[in-house]
């Protein structure tokens, strides 16, 4: 039997249900770039004193270019979010190309909470979920939320997991 189905009556993944990540994420993600900019400014000042004042212009352009990445990240921030439902997990991201990625719980093989040194200072972390067919990751989640979510995902994944007969 392989009947066509009526898609209008299926449960929907609404954009409005997505939960955003912590606002501290922007501050934290910008820090490496601030450091880079500070370095550029210092180098520019030294070069300007030693060689030519016009180099300040070059330095300013470089600082502006480096600023682009945090700038775009800030623009993309409102769209960044995740959604945990009964049977699957989704993440939403992107600025120019917007993407929603979803992995069903029963297919999850690994779930990891990762905290780099910078993230630790802000109490944030990255949650990484992977299946045999792909993975997704959410940066900038508060650590406790991430750990709780990871435990929830792992529990559901093992509950809902198919047995090994499908080999995936």
């Amino acid at each position: 039997m392989n009947q066509p189905i009526d898609v209008a009556n299926l449960p929907q993944l609404h954009d409005s249900d997505f939960v955003g990540v912590s606002p501290d994420y922007l501050k934290m993600a910008a820090i490496p770039f601030r450091v880079l900019q500070a370095g550029i400014i210092a180098a520019t000042v030294v070069a300007a004193i030693l060689l030519s004042p016009w180099l300040i212009l070059v330095g300013l352009v470089m600082v502006a270019l480096v600023q682009l990445v945090p700038f775009f990240r800030r623009l993309a921030y409102p769209y960044l979010g995740y959604l945990a439902r009964e049977h699957d997990f989704s993440v939403r991201y992107g600025l120019i190309n917007r993407t929603v990625t979803t992995i069903p719980f029963k297919r999850i093989q690994n779930s990891v909470v990762n905290q780099g040194p910078l993230e630790r200072r802000f109490g944030l972390s990255t949650l990484r979920i992977s299946s045999a067919g792909g993975s997704l990751s959410i940066p900038g989640m508060p650590f406790e939320d991430a750990t709780r979510l990871r435990a929830f995902v792992a529990m559901n994944a093992s509950l809902l997991a198919e047995d090994d007969t499908d080999g995936a």
Partner: protein
């Protein structure tokens, strides 16, 4: 079933060493790695006497070293099986023990190389689907042992299923520990007693597809007409060296007094045509040899492909490991009513049949439980064409303007490019179809070569819906569906259609699959 398992375990309980023939196989494999053509050329160079004396001196030394290495690796490799695992010990300088749970082994492929067949031996390739354990092969073992490994693997995956082998025809092995070191006759006797009932075809085998040599020749020539050029390619790289070796001379084209003329052009064309014809025949013959007596069958173990003349391979895959079915209709192959089939399975070892007929395809789809409605007819947005034209124009127009001041003709050429893109995009859009039914999602596309790929909905691993800036403005999107092996992308779908498709793919099936469906 328990009786079979005990026999299999009894066969492999003690550590088993490969037959000494494996040393020959090892050396052959090294030579094959260097490349047959290169070996022939090396021999030719040596025989032609252009090699300095000291090189000829160390050559036998190198050969002795290689043979010693081969013997050492052979001596050190042993394997045995327990109820749950396969344990392989190997390594000359550093001893390595690999413990592989049978449940992690995706499939065991059995291959008979020409050398091994002389001694009645086979190679077993263990595929563990990309975990930390690498796929590897054990050469020069008895077919009985390889089949035992295959059965143990299959049983580890099949929790409660009993294969239909009548136990009355089995007799207990006379010598449970079969070592490859004992002279060939002794284990052969013990093995034969087991082999008769066992290697008889298991109770339910249906042949789904079978190819005759004539069909294979046609499939090789029509399915991949240009493939032969690659085969002959190696020959061309060394063409002048080979001609030198046989004492001939090629005309010197550079700096000579040969004038370009029509007769040279005609001769050139004739040579090209001859080469093409030769390569065509070569690829046809290659298909005949590599896929000799190709048979795709459905057994208790799943699907199995047996093929090959010099190197007979037997690949099997359980039905529920099939992730997706990919069918390619080539323009030439279609004329003889065949299409090319690939069953993507977890791990390496996709089951590939270079030519199946339409009826065979229908039977195969039924076996894999991927029912397929042949009238897939949902289409994607026409904006695909305008988007691709736009992208081409964004690049072509500035380039045309830039070169306009150099040469008008050149600028015109830049403008032909968007035109070609438009035609190609239009034809692609016209060919693109997709469909969603209760259990499968499929997509068919292609201008010359039409490819159909269908996936079981239940095996979805990840779904991605994305919108580029262009798509956002028009409420369009792309959806990409991945399972463990492949992914299927439908571009330029209306946003609500992709969302609906995603929601459908993610819903929990009401009827949880039985063993064969997920």
């Amino acid at each position: 079933m328990e009786l079979d398992r005990r026999d299999d375990l009894a066969l492999l309980r003690e550590p088993v060493r490969q037959s000494p023939v494996a040393v020959g196989e090892w050396i052959l494999a090294r030579l094959r790695g260097i490349g047959a053509i290169n070996v022939v050329i090396a021999l030719g160079v040596i025989l032609s006497g252009q090699v300095p004396g000291w090189v000829l001196g160390i050559a036998p030394l190198v050969a002795v070293l290689v043979i010693a290495m081969g013997i050492a690796s052979w001596w050190r490799l042993t394997f045995r099986a327990t109820t749950e695992e396969l344990i392989v010990t190997r390594g000359v300088f550093s001893r390595e023990t690999m413990v592989i749970p049978f449940s992690k082994v995706q499939s065991v492929s059995i291959e008979e190389g020409l050398l091994q067949r002389l001694f009645g031996l086979v190679s077993a390739s263990i595929d563990t689907a990309g975990s930390a354990l690498v796929e590897f092969s054990i050469h020069g073992i008895h077919r009985e042992q390889a089949e035992a490994l295959r059965r143990l693997t299959s049983q580890a995956h099949q929790a409660g299923n009993t294969p239909a082998i009548p136990s009355s025809t089995l007799s207990p092995p006379s010598d449970p520990a079969i070592h490859g070191l004992t002279p060939p006759t002794a284990p052969a006797l013990g093995v034969q007693q087991l082999a008769e009932p066992r290697t008889a075809v298991p109770a339910q085998t249906t042949v789904l597809a079978k190819r005759t040599p004539k069909e294979l020749m046609l499939i090789g020539m029509l399915g991949n007409p240009l493939g032969g050029l690659a085969l002959l390619g190696a020959l061309f790289v060394f063409a002048d060296d080979l001609v030198d070796l046989i004492g001939g001379r090629l005309p010197d084209i550079n700096g000579s007094s040969i004038q370009p003329s029509t007769s040279i052009a005609v001769a050139g064309l004739a040579v090209a045509a001859a080469v093409f014809l030769l390569s065509w025949i070569a690829i046809g013959l290659r298909t005949v040899v590599v896929d000799w007596d190709l048979e795709l069958s459905s057994t208790d173990d799943g699907l199995r492909v047996n093929a090959g003349l010099f190197k007979r391979r037997s690949q099997s895959s359980r039905l529920n490991k099939v992730q997706s079915i990919e069918v390619t209709h080539g323009p030439l192959l279609r004329m003889v009513g065949f299409c090319s089939l690939r069953l993507h399975t977890i791990g390496s070892g996709d089951l590939v049949v270079p030519g199946v007929s339409t009826q065979e395809l229908a039977a195969i789809r039924e076996q894999v439980a991927l029912q397929f409605r042949s009238n897939i007819d949902r289409r994607i947005s026409r904006h695909l064409v305008s988007q691709r034209i736009r992208v081409a124009l964004y690049m072509a127009v500035p380039l045309a303007l830039a070169t306009f001041f150099l040469s008008r003709r050149l600028a015109l050429i830049w403008l032909i490019w968007p035109l070609l893109v438009a035609i190609k995009a239009f034809l692609f859009h016209r060919s693109f179809r997709w469909d969603l039914a209760e259990e499968t999602v499929s997509r068919r596309s292609g201008i010359l070569f039409v490819t159909e790929i269908s996936m079981t909905v239940a095996k979805t691993q990840k779904v991605e819906v994305s919108q580029s800036f262009y798509q956002r403005k028009r409420r369009l999107s792309s959806i990409s569906i991945s399972n463990a092996e492949t992914s299927l992308t439908i571009p330029m779908l209306a946003l609500n259609e992709s969302r609906a498709l995603r929601d459908f793919l993610l819903r929990t099936p009401q009827v949880v699959g039985d063993q064969t469906s997920s």
